[in-house]
Amino acid sequence: MEILDGYLSAVKRCLPRKQRTDIVAELREDLLSQLEARQEELGRPLTDAEQYGVLMQHGDPMIVARRYWPNRRSLSVGWELIGPELFPAYLFVLGLNLAITVGVIPLSLLIYHAPITVQPFILPVVAQIVCVTAVFILLNLVRLKFPQQWIYPPAQLASVIPLQRWYTVSGLVACSVLTLWWLAIPYFQFLVLGPSAGELKLAPVWHRYYVPVLLLFLAGTGQRAVSVVRPDWTWLLPTSRFLISGVGAVVMFFFRTHPLVVVDASARNLEHAEKLARSTNAWMGWGLFGPWLWIYLAVGALFYAWYSRPYLRRLLNARQDRVRPAHQLNGVL
């Protein structure tokens, strides 16, 4: 009943606190009855995939749980942008992101001995609000178009849910484009510097971090390519992305501690080029490679670590099972 328990624990997390135990007990009873009915129909125990099929019909844990909430608020501007099922999750994710951003930026400013002003907060806060809202509007659209798809599958069930090919293929295309962009940077510096490429050049720090970042891009592309061919290797996505995001967070944290561009010796107006270098470094340090990037990667690493847990547990259990006969033999001998 590992799959059923996983499903119920995912529902439980999103239920009103006071009624959680009662609702879950009732849902468990109903789902057990359904699983038993299906088992009787087939005349044999159900496979993991068949159990998952019954739960799939029951619905996305988050959506199921939200139906028990009395206040069904939503985000609407004439038409529904974020429905009542997703709205509490939207508020939670937005609140969490803003709290992390508002907490981390002053720390970063203190570490780099920069004055604490309102300006460094504006872009990351606005970016968080825009990005999180856009993602949830998109999720709402997906939910309306494909009501059968689960938006947030519980970690315990991830092993029985095959990856959607369209999702992996679109990720592969995006990651390949990013890898090609990174590969082209040494030859076409305007891909990073834009029109300032004539007066500025990439700082020496790029030499140190270029290959590690390239390897991360290649690992991400490789994972997606393998997942296209083997969508049943469900362990690959969370474990590889946990490693990629974790290493990426560390690399990006240190990458932005150095000036990222310097004045090119061939610049005609040195004074103007130095000013441009300062503003470009500020723009890159707080924009393209700003703290949001390593925070995003660190949060991603934690997220994928959570999804990797069941695989790790299974691996450890499998090892123990392999060891057990030896213990038994020791006992006999």
């Binding site: 009624q19 609702i23 007990a25 009732e26 849902l27 009873e29 109903d30 057990l32 009855s33 359904q34 029951h58 619905g59 959506i63 199921v64 139906r67 028990y68």
Partner: protein, 116 residues
């Protein structure tokens, strides 16, 4: 044209949902004149042609219980704990009034349809 057809289908689907919503409450209250637990209630509703998914039924049962129309009790049956629901005395009164209202609406609707 396709958009027009799709939107008509969506409108029809929404109207059917609205129509079903009120009817389902009456059907659930009527079924619970006899004590049942969620799974058997859902099966009996489906057998009578009013299929309802669990995600809708259980929150509805809770709401009706909060409103005092149903009472519930956890009891063991077939070695498993199950929550049994039945109509409360207040629920019986409300159901009778709802059924009367239903008959009135039905009569009016039939009259309107005959006029046309």
């Amino acid at each position: 044209m396709t958009n027009g057809t799709t939107s008509s289908a969506e409108v029809l689907e929404n109207l059917k949902l609205e129509l079903r919503r009120g009817c389902l409450i009456v059907a659930v209250l009527a079924q619970l004149r006899i004590e049942q637990y969620g799974y058997t209630l859902r099966k009996s509703l489906a057998d009578d042609g009013l299929a309802i998914d669990e995600g809708t039924l259980y929150p509805l049962l809770r709401r009706l219980e909060t409103q005092g129309l149903l009472v519930s009790q956890w009891r063991e049956e077939d070695k498993r704990n199950k929550r049994f629901y039945r109509l409360s005395p207040e629920g019986e009164l409300i159901l009778a009034q709802l059924l009367e209202e239903w008959q009135n609406i039905n009569t009016s609707l039939n009259r309107i349809l005959q006029e046309v």
